[in-house]
């Protein structure tokens, strides 16, 4: 009861200060950590609130003493300075009491941390790979793999002076083209790693974030209690489009998840039959693949960024022999990632054909999925 009362008082105080700041509606102002939807996030939220209350109480006490002193012990009120300049008792007291408070805080903190680190007994494993600037998800036991990037609508609006009002887009910068679908009430092991620089995979509703580090694999776990859509973002600065690689989880009941798995498997098989495509098909698919995977560095018109990312328009690779072009896309070079693990044969064939026949480039040849397959 008393905690509830305190909660009401504190939120009342915050509401008042909010009103003073702006006079606007409280609901529009996000204020606190989410309680989340996992056992971990509930514990983390509780721990956060406990510590927040402790420091608030200490703050009120310490600031209260300071304020009392400032108002009463002033020369203008005729205060005469006392002469004391130390007190061993006082100093020992205010060393011991903080130590006791800290120990009291360390106990629940340790328990929560131990709970969070129990990654064993998972029922399924999701591998998350950070790329500049998108996420790749591999369902290790289910054989599903896809790349998830900022949704096109958001991407268009976030371009400088795009003329599109971000307020017209629901969940601006928190929409992706391929959301992750996960079952509820399942212990899921989540592995994080990266291909280029360090990223950090963070969905607040799960209660933690963890860095995705090239060459290393971190393991974590989650257990989502309620179906819903949970959104997050990359939390570690990873280059120019760090702010534009969101995460979306659709948590669904187990049966629905099983159906989604079937559908996704069929979709992936259909997308990668290896059959030849026409020039129009290649160019159309290539444009989409280019804007999702290549345009953030090589720029939408293939002009590149001087000193950082080479132009494709008129480049030796994009206008030279197709074999070298395929090799570069498959295996990467320096900052350029190896796309062989991210894109299928049809995607790579299409994007190479597109690059060789767009802007000022007019090689005129077609690269087919079979060529890519042969080069892998």
């Amino acid at each position: 009861m008393s905690v509830d009362k305190l909660k009401r008082t504190v939120s009342g105080l915050i509401a008042v200060s909010l009103f003073l700041v702006s006079g606007a509606v409280l609901a529009e102002y996000p204020l606190n950590l989410t309680e989340g939807v996992t056992p971990t996030s509930h514990r983390v939220y509780e721990l956060h609130m406990i510590i927040l209350y402790i420091v608030t109480v200490i703050g009120i006490a310490v600031f209260g003493v300071m304020a009392w002193s400032i108002f009463h012990h002033r020369k203008s009120k005729g205060a005469v300075a006392a002469k004391f300049h130390h007190s061993t008792t006082a100093e020992i007291t205010w060393t011991i009491i903080p130590i006791l408070i800290l120990v009291a805080m360390a106990v629940p903190a340790t328990k929560t941390l131990v709970f969070m680190e129990q990654t064993g007994d998972a029922e399924m494993t999701l591998k998350v790979t950070g790329h500049q600037w998108k996420w790749q998800y591999d369902y290790l036991d289910e054989g599903i793999s896809f790349v998830s990037a900022l949704a096109e609508e958001d991407n268009a609006a976030r371009q400088r002076n795009s003329g599109i009002d971000p307020n017209t887009i629901d969940n601006y910068l928190k929409n992706v083209n391929n959301p992750i679908v996960l079952p509820v009430e399942t212990k899921i092991r989540i592995l994080t790693t990266a291909s280029d620089v360090i990223h950090s995979w963070w969905v607040p509703a799960l209660g933690w974030k963890r860095d995705a580090i090239p060459g290393f694999i971190n393991d974590n776990w989650t257990y989502i209690e309620e179906p819903g859509v949970y959104r997050g973002k990359c939390a570690e600065l990873c280059g120019k489009d760090h702010g534009f690689m969101p995460i979306v989880i659709h948590a669904v009941p187990k049966a629905e998840y099983a159906a989604w798995l079937e559908e996704k498997r069929a979709e992936q098989a259909a997308a990668n039959t290896g059959a030849d495509m026409s020039m129009d098909e290649l160019m159309e698919k290539g444009k989409a693949v280019y804007s999702a995977n290549c345009a953030s560095c090589h720029m939408p018109e293939g002009q590149g960024v001087a000193g950082l990312f080479p132009a494709l328009d008129g480049s030796l690779i994009a206008t030279g022999p197709a074999e070298e072009h395929i090799n570069r896309v498959l295996n990467g070079l320096n900052l350029m990632p190896a796309f062989k693990s991210q894109l299928n044969d049809a995607d790579i064939a299409a994007v190479i054909t597109y690059e060789r026949n767009s802007w000022g480039n007019a090689v005129g040849d077609m690269v087919q999925p079979a060529d890519v397959k042969a080069a892998r």
Binding site: E28, L33, S76, N167, A306
Partner: protein, 531 residues
């Protein structure tokens, strides 16, 4: 100059004139002035970058700059503020005050003093010239984490060598301060009679000597990784990108105390003066400062809890971090006890000192929260941490520096500053700094990551409030420039003691003090030191 007239008559080294006075200066006061002016200039350079950041974040969508340039702004803002504004301000105050506070004529190594200052403009020319290079200015964060930092274009070696130069400058400054305090104290000025500002600076200087070479080593490894084919931080070559973070933060956490301890020292001088009461618990203040400095070498990994350490590692760094709250608490309680039953007046230096006391403590609370590992998994890399370290740095460290500037400005110039303008500066800054940084706690908790140039629309209102606070705070600092210029030009004559409650050797000298502070060492008694 009455003191100089009496004691300086058999010297021929009269104050040099013209540009040579500054270029070839070996005088602690002139070099101190150059450090402080340089620091003020860089404060506005870094502040201008913050204004670009806040303008871009005023509303969602990209309006003014590209994401890459935005990242350069956050990165270089931090480098300029830390290495260009805060550290030189601390060294500048040390230069001006330490010889006067310990009864010495000058610093122990005046030519090295000159060199350690003049390295700074060159270092920042290197750093800021990267804005005009192919590939642009550093944009991987001031923490320079690989592999991202290795993607920088032609500016990369300039960044590395700028950091090397800054490190060399700091180490020379630190050696000079240690040599001065250890060798040039007046008779009777024992270590436990040193003013707290001198104590905090000795400890800071040892931290600098211990920490800066570590940073130099870390960035040298980056350089060889980029150009000489080593793989210290490249997993594909058997290296470890996380090792850089360990090495960097082994420097980085002591660096936090390098920045803050001088400010702690300043308010330990200012609060007793205006409370007209001796500092409470002098000895425990010294020990608490030393403990904080010692512990600062054992907590570095709390900056990187999310990299995935073993459970035991996470627990160790959590407990060690929490332990720092104890000596820090002692300091806060001692300052409060110094004010308690005093006879306080609230001139501008006291206002800024009390500002430090309140708002550094707020930063301390959020710091304690982030020391709790499991919750830090949520707080890490959000605006909550941005709020935390800005509370520590701006109304904590910078307020401490401002308190010192207002406190000693009459001593330096011989004139009282304009008290009304000083108070206006304080109140405008204090209201705006809280409007600027307090809401960052809320948006951080609600899920806004740091270092992003554009955000989801739910954060719009807070960001607008924050930006307005930022613009007002930035403009308010122009008042400081006006106060300083006005005070240098003239004003009411300052007495030698300047403040009614002021004690210490610096206040036995004339205002302004003679060119060579103490040519005859004063005798220091216990009553003088602790009154």
């Amino acid at each position: 100059m009455s003191y100089a007239a009496v004691h300086d008559d058999d010297h021929h080294d009269h104050k040099p004139t013209g540009i040579g006075r500054w270029l070839f200066s070996t005088n602690h006061k002139d070099i101190g002035t150059m450090y402080l002016v340089f620091s003020l200039f860089m404060f506005f350079v870094g502040g201008a970058m913050a204004m670009v950041i806040r303008a871009e974040l005023f509303q969602p969508g990209m309006q003014f700059v590209d994401p890459q340039f935005f990242n350069s702004m956050t990165t270089v803002h931090a480098l300029v503020m830390i290495f260009g504004a805060l550290m030189p301000a601390g060294v500048g105050l040390a230069n001006w005050m330490i010889p006067m506070m310990i009864g010495a004529p000058d610093m122990a190594m005046p030519r090295m003093n000159n060199m350690s200052f003049w390295i700074l403009p060159f270092a920042f020319t290197l750093l800021l010239s990267t804005f005009f290079m192919e590939g642009g200015a550093p944009a991987g964060g001031w923490t320079m984490y690989p592999p991202l930092v290795l993607q920088l274009g032609n500016g990369f070696p300039f960044l590395i060598f700028a950091v090397h130069f800054l490190g060399i400058s700091s180490i020379m400054g630190a050696i000079n301060i240690i040599a001065t305090v250890f060798n040039m104290r007046a008779p009777g000025m024992t270590f436990m009679r040193l003013p707290l500002f001198v104590w905090t600076w000795i400890i800071t200087a040892f931290l600098l000597i211990a920490a800066m070479p570590v940073l130099a080593g870390a960035v040298t490894m980056l350089l060889t990784d980029k150009y000489f084919g080593t793989a210290f931080f490249n997993a594909a070559g058997g290296g470890d990108p996380v090792m850089f973070q360990h090495v960097f933060w082994f420097f980085g956490h002591p660096e936090v105390y390098i920045l803050v301890l001088p400010s702690f020292g300043i308010i330990s001088q200012v609060i007793p003066t205006f409370a007209r009461k001796p500092l409470f618990g002098y000895a425990s203040m010294v020990y608490a400062t030393a403990s904080i400095a010692f512990l600062s070498f054992f907590v570095w990994a709390h900056h990187m809890f999310t990299v995935g350490m073993p459970l035991t590692g996470e627990l160790f760094f959590m407990y060690a971090t929490m332990a720092i709250a104890v000596p820090t608490g002692v300091k806060v309680f001692n300052w409060t006890a110094t004010m308690w039953k005093g006879s306080m007046t609230f001139e501008t230096p006291m206002l800024f000192a009390i500002g430090t006391l309140f708002m550094f403590t707020i930063g301390g609370f959020s710091g304690l929260m982030m020391g709790i590992t499991p919750v830090d998994f949520q707080y890490h890399d959000t605006y909550f941490i941005v709020a935390h370290f800005h509370y520590v740095i701006v109304p904590g460290i910078i307020y401490g520096i401002l308190s010192g500037v207002y406190y000693w400005l009459p001593k330096w110039t011989g004139h009282m500053y304009d008290e009304k303008l000083g108070k206006l500066h304080f109140w405008l800054s204090t209201v705006s700094v809280n409007v600027l940084f307090f809401p960052m706690h809320f948006i951080g908790l609600a899920g806004m990551p740091r270092r992003i140039p554009d955000y989801s629309t739910q954060f719009t209102d807070w960001n607008q409030i924050i930006s307005i606070g930022g613009f007002v705070f930035g403009l308010s600092q122009l008042i400081l420039v006006w106060v300083v210029i006005k005070c240098v030009r003239g004003g009411e004559k300052a007495t030698d003691q300047v403040w009614e409650g002021a004690h210490g050797l610096e206040f036995t000298l004339s205002s302004p003090p003679p060119f060579h502070s103490f040519t005859t060492p004063p005798k220091v008694t216990d009553a003088m030191a602790h009154s």
